[in-house]
């Protein structure tokens, strides 16, 4: 959150990798001529978006869990961290704007946290739009069976009806930039982005700041979040 929302997701992976190394997390590497750290982000967060719900799977080396604690290696050699201690250490090692709000060690063979994400929750504002008009547009969109959007795909304009993927859409007050919209949009078969809705809700307007608030997975017929935050996101001070 904050200025770091302008960092692309490949760069975020590099940032996380450095933090894992600084904290001595017992990470594992791929085989081959140029081994890479094994870790997987689920749905890439678009550049310029904020998020308070990103998930990351990091396979640990098998012998690194001692009495339920993580035995650190490298720069953390000699330290034994429980989940909470590791969460704090990683948060501190990450740059301002990044925060680890939940961390859990899963047994080997446990599923990936994010492979079954079905929808994402979003919150975004629309620059300079008129609240009344946005509210009307939302009402019209939800009442109909079509929400026609346009997006660029390989330099081609693709028109698509995305009504199927809009699970929730409502206004939630206003920021200094414009009306705030809450949306829950499908992540399958593709991630629908809030920016696609802006032209529907306020033709010609620009999106302000968008934030992913949730990633919902389907587990035994129930929708739930992969992890429950153990603390609310702390935005470290920056000028």
């Amino acid at each position: 959150m904050g200025k770091v929302r302008f960092v692309g997701h490949r760069d975020v992976a590099r940032i996380v990798e450095r933090a894992l190394r600084r904290c001595g997390v017992p990470i594992t590497y791929s085989e081959g001529f140029s081994p890479r750290v094994r870790m997987s982000f689920g749905l890439a967060l678009p550049t310029c978006y904020e998020s308070e719900a990103e998930y990351l799977d990091v396979p640990l080396s098998p012998d690194s869990i001692v009495d339920g604690q993580i035995a650190c290696i490298g720069w953390g050699q000699g330290k034994l961290h429980n989940e909470q201690q590791m969460q704090i250490a990683l948060s501190e090692a990450l740059p301002t704007g990044f925060d680890v709000v939940a961390l859990t060690v899963e047994p080997k063979g446990g599923g990936s946290l994010q492979e079954t994400v079905v929808t994402c929750g979003w919150k975004f504002d629309i620059l300079g739009a008129v609240a009344r008009e946005v509210e009307d547009a939302i009402e019209r969109a939800l009442a109909g069976s079509e929400i026609e959007t346009e997006r660029k795909k390989k330099n081609e304009l693709v028109r698509e009806n995305i009504r199927y993927g809009v699970y929730d859409l409502r206004m939630d007050g206003e920021s200094e930039r414009g009306p705030i919209v809450i949306a829950e949009l499908s992540a399958k078969p593709r991630v629908i982005r809030p920016s696609e809705l802006v032209d529907v809700l306020a033709p010609g307007a620009e999106m302000g700041i968008a934030r992913r608030t949730h990633q919902w997975i389907e587990h035994e017929g129930q929708w739930q979040e992969p992890l429950t935050p153990s603390k609310s996101p702390q935005l470290k001070e920056y000028s």
Binding site: K3, G8, R21, P35, C48, I73, P95, G97, L127, S239
Partner: protein
């Protein structure tokens, strides 16, 4: 202080790579604002990705921020899309640390590491909201400074820059801070700008071009003379005597977005006396000052732990020459904190110092790219440029690498060197093919990339008198080599655009009149000239015509001994007659030893300033060919004649 962030933020979604403009690096200083201190905006006139890793800028950034009477922030040239957004929204150049406007700083200091960035310097001054010509700036406007290797010929930028700094910046920035601080405290009243500039001329290593007048006789330069009696006739470079006193940067910046050299960089020595005659860096940074091996190890270890990087580059002008290179590489890889997963990259490897031992150590972790720079294909040519590495040296180094698991390497060559003939150019192909043949003894995948650059003569080198090849001639040589290598799929040829070498030639040895050319190119949209997608030679040709200057005269003409050179009033310690003698020796094919391991031949770099080499080992690593009295004739057509030292150089 003003932050432009609220106005900048809405523009960022509209530009490529917005992370270039946010700052937020680990190691960045954002709480350093001191209302009564001298403020520096250290500006790199190229993109963030190129500029962020610059070690010189980072060292000064830290040193200034440690001072109670100064603080420094950083800025980089905005890419063209961002510039368009900034101009249409009335946003000036800003610092990435706190997003303050450039105009609020006392000093805008540019790092000049390549000549083709000069138009970007003008663009940045203009974006800051200042007049590009120094004479048109107001009393209270920030002072524009510049340093870096290109500052050694300051004349092409003389009309735009208020002061230049020659040589190492570590010490001189303190003196500049004090002088500018007094001006700041005075409230910068009308007329005071002239006074502060005059005061700056009294600091050794500082050149204030407006205090000097260039005179001409027709096209010929007569001289660059001080306008006032207290202004020094010549400006001497600054040199820090011992790198051990300067273990910087302590907190290397870790960017949030990928940049070039995205790893820990530790400078292991400064200066080089191998004496390659084309190499400006090797001439102007003498003598060799090694960092103690223990300090290198500490900087590497602390740096890796602090940053989380898994790669470290040991930087210098010729890394394999470091006295304790094998020990430092081994120690780094054995460092427990790295779990054996650290890659050590050794840029600027000299083939006669790269051993199987070093290769074996480096290959224990992830292998990094290997680049060797034989620079010329034939032994005759390497004698002329004084890069006295034999073919056997190269093949041994290549064998070391392939035997330790490398599949490919890069070989760097120059073309357009003095007295170069087609057989010298074609010899590059022979060398490359022989390297591949050695590689194929170890792996079927063996390949070599040949990177070919057009030679541009540089000030303060023995080749400063040489007329540069025309771009058509460079192009012909590239084609010659390309044709020769066309059928060989194992040798990949890459080359730099010869046209860019012409523009570089104009600016590299230009005089004060070339300022008009730079301004013309900039005013006609010629920014980012280092980038092939933006480079346009016709802009430079038009600018030369409009300024009534002749490319042939500036770039392709041989100079004679008595010609006044535009940088004659700037001193890197080197005696001009040493350089001339070395130029004559070059043409005669005489070699010159490396004085770090052999007695001094008085080039001037040490004797002028009362300093000397700081080198841990009295002998070259690997018993390299040069400077050891070995028979350099073995296996070669022309035996090298190492010139008796007494006859060389000196005044």
């Amino acid at each position: 202080m003003t932050s432009l962030w609220p106005r900048l933020e809405p523009l960022l979604p509209r530009v490529e790579k917005p992370a270039r403009y946010i700052g937020c690096e680990d190691g960045a200083c954002t709480d350093i604002y001191k209302p009564d201190a001298t403020s520096w905006l250290l500006t790199y006139p190229d993109t963030y990705e190129i500029g962020l890793p610059n070690q010189g800028l980072q060292i000064l950034y830290e040193l200034l921020n440690e001072r109670p009477d100064a603080f420094a922030e950083r800025s980089y040239a905005p890419w063209t899309d961002m510039e368009a957004q900034m101009r249409s929204n009335g946003l000036p150049l800003f610092s990435v640390d706190t997003h303050r406007p450039a105009e609020e700083f006392d000093i805008l200091a540019f790092n000049l590491s390549a000549e083709l960035v000069y138009t970007n310097v003008l663009n940045c001054i203009d974006l800051a909201g200042l007049a590009v010509r120094a004479s048109q700036r107001g009393d209270a406007d920030p002072l524009i400074g510049a340093g870096g290797h290109c500052a050694y010929n300051p004349e092409p930028l003389a009309d735009f820059i208020d002061f230049f700094v020659m040589g190492d910046g570590e010490e001189v920035i303190a003196e500049i801070t004090t002088t500018v601080g007094e001006w700041r405290k005075s409230g910068k009243p009308p007329g005071s700008r002239e006074n502060v500039l005059r005061a700056l001329t009294q600091i050794a290593g500082v050149y204030v071009p407006s205090m000097y007048e260039a005179t001409y006789d027709g096209t010929k330069l007569v001289g660059v003379q001080p306008k006032h009696p207290d202004v020094p006739v010549s400006v001497q470079k600054r040199t820090v005597a011992d790198l051990a006193d300067w273990p910087y940067p302590r907190n290397q910046l870790v960017p949030l977005t990928e940049v070039v050299h995205d790893r820990l960089n530790v400078e292991i020595f400064r200066g080089c006396t191998r004496g390659c005659r084309f190499c400006q860096a090797g001439m102007i940074t003498r003598p060799v000052r090694e960092r103690p091996a223990s300090q290198v190890r500490e900087m590497v270890s602390k740096g890796l732990e602090r940053t989380g990087y898994d790669e470290v580059s040991l930087t210098s002008l010729s890394t394999a020459d470091f006295s304790n290179i094998e020990e430092v590489v081994t120690g780094t890889i054995d460092e427990p904190g790295t779990c054996g997963r650290v890659s050590v990259s050794l840029p600027s490897l000299r083939v006669d110092a790269f051993t199987v031992g070093v290769a074996a150590q480096v290959s224990r972790a992830r292998r990094t790219g290997l680049t060797f720079a034989p620079e010329a294909g034939s032994w005759r040519m390497r004698q002329i440029i004084n890069k006295l590495v034999t073919e056997e040296d190269l093949y041994e180094a290549v064998r070391s690498a392939y035997s330790q698991g490398w599949h490919r390497m890069k070989l760097y060559f120059l073309t357009g060197l003095p007295s170069e003939m087609d057989e010298d150019t074609l010899a590059i192909a022979d060398l490359a093919e022989n390297c591949v043949a050695i590689g194929q003894e170890y792996t079927k995948k063996a390949s070599v990339t040949v990177s070919l650059g057009g030679f541009v003569p540089k000030p303060h080198t023995p080749f400063q008198w040489f007329g540069q090849n025309e771009s058509a001639e460079l192009r012909r040589k590239v084609e010659l080599l390309r044709e020769r290598l066309r059928r060989n799929k194992r040798v990949h040829l890459k080359w730099h655009a010869p046209e860019a070498s012409t523009a570089e030639g104009i600016t590299s040895r230009g005089d004060r009149r070339v300022g008009r050319v730079i301004e013309h190119v900039w005013r006609h949209g010629g920014t980012f000239q280092e980038w092939s997608e933006h480079f346009d030679l016709t802009l430079w040709e038009e600018a030369m015509r409009a300024s009534e200057l002749d490319i042939e005269w500036y770039v392709h003409r041989h100079r004679d001994e008595n010609e006044v050179l535009p940088w004659d009033h700037i001193h890197a310690g080197l005696h001009k007659d040493f350089l001339w003698q070395d130029w004559q020796d070059a043409l005669a094919g005489f070699g010159l030893e490396d004085c770090r391991w052999t007695p001094c031949y008085d080039c001037g770099a040490c004797t002028e300033y009362g300093i000397e080499h700081v080198v841990a080992s009295p002998v070259p690593p690997n018993g390299g060919s040069q400077g050891t009295g070995q028979d350099l004739a073995i296996g070669h057509v022309v035996p090298v004649d190492l010139r008796p030292r007494a006859e060389v150089g000196g005044t």
